[in-house]
């Protein structure tokens, strides 16, 4: 982030913070809503593991780690960019995107950081607690190398998460209505939040590992931590992120060329 962008970021954060503090309960809404979602998942899988020892090769500890990892990816998403990126289709429909294109700062940069949600920060802390609980349940020794590899995969998968969100909402630059795309995203995320990638096979694996790669988002970081990640999976994970980065850039940039201002 260069000096100009940093100043823009600070200003956007200040404006957003002022706006959020007007409604005090809503300030922590992302924490309460998503926190309850992942707490419920822990309870649900607690019930499953009360009746079975393993789901595939994963025991209770791995599943807690998986839920914590997905929760953390989602928490960072909610804190930093979700509310900004989510408004893209509305801004395209209403023509409000004009204001972003006419400013001397990247429109995507402003959209990404203009709706930061500090109220979701407790969600990050809660996710870290779930991850620590998962590690404790696994009774594993956490070395610096393992932690570094896990953080590397977290960063990589957060980028993928961001790109998926931008990609799906960029469709609004090409078509009139994109409610179906958001429904597909919701269904895919909802499924992969509950179901680790190890349970996928055949055509389901192709869908959730390649076409809508939500299936690898929390799976690969967990696999890196528990030592299930081989060279092939590592290269595949990096490859998918590179592919989606290129794809997102192309779709977004071409989409802006299709944008015809208000009522486009």
């Amino acid at each position: 982030m260069n000096k100009k962008n940093w100043r823009v970021f600070q200003e956007l954060f200040r404006l957003r913070f002022h706006g959020l503090t007007v409604f005090r309960f809503d300030f922590f809404a992302p924490f309460f809503v998503d926190g309850s979602l992942f707490a419920i998942q822990l309870l649900a899988f607690g019930a499953v593991y009360a009746n079975v020892d393993r789901i595939g090769s994963w025991g209770r500890g791995e599943m807690i780690l998986y839920i914590g990892t997905f929760s953390l990816l989602n928490a960072v998403n909610m804190t930093i960019y979700f509310f900004g990126i989510n408004s893209i289709p509305y801004k395209v429909r209403s023509g409000e995107l004009d204001l972003y294109l006419s400013k001397p700062v990247s429109p995507l940069f402003r959209l990404t950081f203009e709706n930061i949600s500090p109220g979701a920060v407790p969600l990050i802390l809660m996710s870290v607690c779930i991850i620590v609980y998962g590690i404790a349940s696994l009774q594993m020794t956490l070395t610096l190398v393992i932690a570094a590899a896990y953080i590397f995969w977290l960063v990589l998968m957060e980028i993928l998460y961001y790109e998926m969100e931008v990609l799906i909402r960029s469709v609004s630059l090409y078509v009139v209505s994109m409610a179906r795309m958001e429904q597909i995203e919701e269904a895919g995320l909802d499924l992969c939040m509950k179901l680790p990638g190890i349970a996928l096979y055949g055509v389901y694996k192709v869908i959730f590992y390649l076409i809508l790669p939500y299936g690898i988002m929390a799976t690969l970081p967990v696999q890196s931590m528990i030592g299930e990640l081989n060279l092939q999976r590592t290269l595949y994970g990096i490859g998918v992120v590179v592919l989606f980065t290129a794809f997102t850039c192309i779709i977004w940039k071409n989409g802006l060329k299709h944008y015809n201002s208000a009522s486009s």
Binding site: F25, D26, S36, I40, A50, N51, L191, A199
Partner: protein, 264 residues
């Protein structure tokens, strides 16, 4: 009664306007079935039964549970009341020559009757696609109890959502709470995992709550389980409907006079 039947018919016809929504709602019922198929598929690879379920018994449960929860669309009522009170357009329901609660009941009936056919068709398609050996009770007494219970469960959910909507007059912004409620309801109605997998003490507590009888117990009864709970369940959910109705009357008396039509 005739005017309410007209309201139901109007809402039935209204659904035809959103044909794509109907089709996509049908398609997206797959996400719950797919989750169950993949999760329990991997678990049942090494097990014959989990709790009281066989693999096909479990999938049959998810088919019925998903069908019932798909039909239960009353969360829109609380959102509608919440939005309209906040923007001052709730007057629409006050000036209509019909009881507001009954209006929402009639509206819900129209929507449910419309979706009944499509959701049933979707359930049959998923049974065929996933090659599920569908387990279904043959006892008429149990089927009648399950149908009545599902009906009472839906009435209770309409009452609950109407009640929560009215609370906007007291608490002004309840959007966050409604989202948390939806998360909790998905767990306690057994939509994520069957409640039978929870420890007996937890199930015992849940049996006292109405949510146990909304989708979980009807789904279990339809799939030939928990038959001894059928009559008791009907009595309990019936009592909850009466209780909720008195809570609604109280809330109406207390808060309706606060509505000034100006919005919040």
């Amino acid at each position: 009664m005739r005017k309410y039947w007209e309201i139901s018919k109007t809402y039935m016809k209204t659904q035809l306007v959103w044909r794509a929504d109907v089709i996509f709602n049908m398609i997206f019922t797959i996400s719950k079935i797919l989750f169950a198929y993949l999760l329990w598929g991997i678990i049942f690879q090494n097990k014959e039964s989990v709790g009281m379920f066989t693999f096909h018994g479990m999938l049959s449960y998810y088919i019925v549970s998903s069908f019932l929860s798909q039909l239960e669309m009353s969360e829109g009522i609380s959102n509608e009341i919440h939005e309209r009170i906040r923007n001052g357009t709730f007057s629409k329901y006050i000036v209509i020559p019909a009881g507001i609660e009954r209006y929402f009941m009639a509206m819900e009936l129209g929507i449910v009757l419309f979706y009944l056919v499509f959701d049933f068709a979707a359930a049959v398609v998923w049974i065929y696609i996933f090659r599920i050996q569908f387990v279904f009770t043959t006892q008429w007494r149990v089927i009648v109890c399950a149908v009545l219970m599902a009906g009472l469960g839906m009435i209770f959910m309409i009452q609950l959502n109407y009640f929560l909507g009215i609370l906007t007059l007291r608490f002004e912004g309840i959007g966050t709470f409604l989202m948390i409620k939806n998360n909790l309801v998905s767990l306690v109605t057994g939509s994520i995992v069957p409640l039978a997998l929870f420890p007996e003490t937890v199930t015992g507590i849940l049996r006292l709550l109405p949510f146990y009888y909304v989708t979980y117990l009807p789904a279990m009864l339809f799939t030939g389980q928990c038959q001894e709970e059928a009559v008791r369940g009907l009595v309990i959910i019936g009592c909850w409907c009466v209780l909720m109705q008195s809570a609604i009357q109280n809330a109406r008396k207390k808060y309706f006079r606060k509505y000034d039509g100006a919005g919040i």
